[in-house]
């Protein structure tokens, strides 16, 4: 699914990623943990192609194709989804309109027929019901005036709708109460399948109680310093990053 080799990247001229190696196979869920400033968010932005994050070395293969060569929208259309740590407000654009426009853009890219308003509404209502999300969110402008929890629910709804092949979750748990955390985790778990992979970036172990990863990696100072199974997350929680990184 994803093969990252010696990935290096700079932001504003400063090197943040200093040679990342990580392979994610179909069906696997990987968690990347690390202290603040380790480069966790940078990794998610580099993979999704955000402007200002310059790749200075290494390679990333996504389903066997060079990911770094694609525009951000092409990556999205090919099934890479980033759940944002801070979802962005778009005033005046109703969530339903936004979702439908993006959904149809992805379908068009794949050469599938676009859904009309009625078909789309039916589909999105099915997803909101499954996830226990209120429909009125669809009428409101994208993320405008949403609480922190609502914004994250909106990300989960989008993920459920787009059914991506690779889910990147960037600190989805930050600022969430336990109920919202469960909704988010439920969204990911529903999508778990032998074909679908996820990369979960988090600071705390808490989210991993609900989304159980196959592998846990510790990112420190732009490199993966330790990898293991889910027990590594618990060990981290107990001992702290400093000790693990130094080891």
């Amino acid at each position: 699914m994803l093969e990252i080799k010696d990935l290096r990247a700079t932001v504003g001229g400063k090197e943040i990623l200093k040679g990342i190696n990580l392979t994610i196979k179909p069906g696997e869920i990987h968690a990347v943990m690390g202290p603040n400033g380790a480069g966790k968010s940078t990794l998610s932005y580099v993979l999704s192609g955000r402007a200002g994050y310059e790749v200075t070395g290494g390679s990333v293969l996504y389903k066997g194709v060079d990911l770094l060569d694609m525009s951000p929208d092409e990556r999205a259309c090919r099934g890479l989804f980033l759940a944002f740590q801070y979802p962005v407000e778009i005033p005046g654009v109703a969530s339903a309109t936004f979702l439908k426009t993006a959904f149809n853009a992805q379908r068009k890219f794949r050469g599938e027929e676009e859904l009309d308003a009625m078909q789309f509404l039916k589909l999105v209502r099915k997803k909101t019901t499954e996830l226990g999300i209120k429909d009125d969110m669809l009428k409101r402008a994208v993320n405008v005036g949403f609480s922190g929890g609502e914004k994250k629910r909106n990300e989960v709804l989008q993920m459920a709708l787009f059914e991506p092949d690779l889910m990147l979750l960037d600190e989805t748990d930050s600022g969430l109460d336990i109920d919202a955390l469960k909704v988010a985790a439920d969204g990911v778990n529903r999508l778990r399948s032998p074909e679908r992979s996820a990369l979960i970036i988090t600071h705390y172990q808490r989210l991993l109680d609900y989304i159980v990863p196959d592998f846990v990696h510790v990112l420190a100072d732009g490199k993966i310093v330790k990898s293991g199974d889910k027990s590594l997350a618990l060990e981290l929680e107990e001992k702290g990053y400093a000790e693990i990184s130094a080891a």
Partner: protein
């Protein structure tokens, strides 16, 4: 239907930068180059006008000669050589054709390209989803075809080229023309009075709700030609009309002048809704060519409970200088101004409105959305004046500017004059930028950079787009996307 719902597909479906930029090879009947009293006489004679009309034109022309070109607007352009313009150009075809069969097929082809449903038959055939809009089409200097006239006549509605109204309805024209915008009003309106060539005339009699949208499409085709159209709409007591106006021009390297005058008169309990989608050629990305759009539009709400609403989407023209205004004379009269002005590359727009409150309990609303991209400069200039007798008058102004990139400018120049003790005036203004974050968020969901921009900007304009009649709203959304092409990246 949500306004920006279909935007992205529409933007994607229209790939050309300025799709109206074609030149048509139509033989034209031209006046000699330049301007003098003989040219004014030439135009009047071409239009077969009565003596009183010529006299009025000449008075306006002589007055214009004494005037100075205004310089207060926040726009910059080389001095216009008024002797280097053709003031009259008519397609060589039968003027005032009796039916569409007599119209030059090449001309009909032009309108077809513009997407105007000129063919009455198709529309009348009742094709599902077809426009129910009466259209007057003005090509360079003459009106070439007006549709649906018979059906309108049944209701007593007069909708015809103004040149025809001057001949057939002189009592109405004499009474109202120049009564809202006198020839002494400003430099360009004086020039318009002297040399106007055509435009539309609408008269809605007492108690009539016009059964369909009325629409005029203006097109400048001939090179070096000015277009000076004149529109006059009168809504008698208890009547209603919705009027749409669209404008296009071919791509040319030189600048062309468009100086129109629009006058609206609204009597007791009557309402006029006037919508414009202005898409004159804006010039290229280096600022070469494009239309100078210097327009005077004004509505007089003369009756009690009268209402006028101006909605404009201004995306074209190299320079726009335009302030559709409302004189709220009748008690309880209402004036509204909803505007989207988009400037890209080297376009300049100085636009806004004037709300002149004279009567009691008059109210006005101004919503202005200015979008600047490239190296463009956009200015909102608006006057709210409360007269002494304007008891309990109210105004609410919202003026939002959106910047794309870091080389453009947005300016807001509100003027407030209040002589009424009981008037309430509210002014809100914001300036924001399309953020890289917003663009990336949309792209991460699968939209291209330009689709993302169109979506974000349509969201910004939503309140105004919602005011447009459906047919225009769709076109306007497309235009928003197209006019911002090349503004990202």
């Amino acid at each position: 239907m949500a306004v920006s719902q279909e935007t992205v597909e529409q933007v994607a479906s229209v790939s050309e930068k300025y799709k109206y930029g074609f030149v048509s090879d139509i033989e034209a009947d031209m006046a000699p180059l330049g301007l003098n009293e003989d040219i004014v006489r030439f135009i009047s004679a071409k239009k077969d006008e009565p003596e009183w009309m010529l006299e009025w034109r000449l008075k306006a022309y002589r007055y214009w000669l004494t005037m100075e070109e205004p310089t207060w607007a926040n726009v910059d352009y080389p001095k216009i050589d008024f002797q280097d313009i053709y003031y009259y150009s008519a397609p060589k075809t039968k003027v005032n054709p009796k039916s569409l069969d007599e119209v030059d097929p090449e001309l009909l082809e032009v309108y077809k390209k513009l997407g105007i449903p000129l063919k009455e038959q198709e529309v009348l055939a009742g094709v599902e989803g077809a426009y129910n809009v009466a259209v007057d089409a003005v090509f360079d200097s003459v009106s070439v075809a007006t549709t649906f006239r018979e059906r309108l006549e049944k209701e007593g509605v007069i909708f015809c080229p103004i040149s025809e109204a001057i001949r057939n309805h002189p009592e109405l024209v004499k009474k109202y023309m120049g009564s809202v915008v006198p020839y002494t009003d400003n430099y360009y309106s004086a020039l318009n009075c002297a040399v106007f060539t055509d435009g539309s005339f609408c008269y809605i009699p007492k108690g009539v709700r016009c059964p369909m949208e009325l629409s005029t499409y203006f097109r400048i085709n001939a090179a070096q030609t000015g277009q000076f159209e004149r529109t006059l709409i009168i809504a008698e007591d208890d009547s209603y009309v919705s009027y749409l106006e669209g404008c296009t021009a071919p791509m040319r390297d030189e600048n062309q002048l468009h100086a129109a005058v629009v006058e609206l008169i609204i009597m007791d309990n009557a309402e006029i809704k006037y919508s414009t989608v202005q898409n004159w050629y804006p010039g290229d990305e280096n600022g070469v060519g494009g239309i100078y759009n210097f327009v005077t539009k004004r509505a007089a709400c003369r009756g009690v409970n009268s209402k006028v609403s101006w909605t404009q989407v201004e995306t074209g023209s190299a320079i726009t200088w335009k302030y559709p205004s409302c004189i709220l004379q009748g008690d309880n009269s209402v004036g509204e101004f909803y505007s989207i002005a988009i400037t890209n590359n080297l376009q300049q727009a100085d636009t806004g409105t004037k709300m002149i409150h004279l009567g009691k309990n008059t109210s006005s609303t101004i919503i202005s959305k200015g979008i600047s991209a490239g190296r463009a400069q956009s200015t909102y200039r608006g006057l709210v004046r409360m007269g002494k007798k304007a008891e309990n008058a109210r105004n609410h102004t919202v003026c939002d500017s959106l910047l794309i990139g870091d080389k453009c400018g947005a300016h807001t120049v509100p003027y407030i004059e209040n002589q009424s003790r009981t008037a309430k005036i509210e002014h809100e203004a914001t300036t924001s930028k399309v953020s890289e974050e917003q663009l990336f968020y949309c792209q991460q969901r699968g939209l291209s950079e330009e689709e993302s921009m169109a979506l974000i900007v349509n969201g910004f304009c939503k309140e105004v787009l919602q005011k447009l009649p459906m047919e225009f709203a769709v076109e306007a959304q497309k235009l928003v996307g197209i006019s911002l092409e090349g503004s990202v990246g």
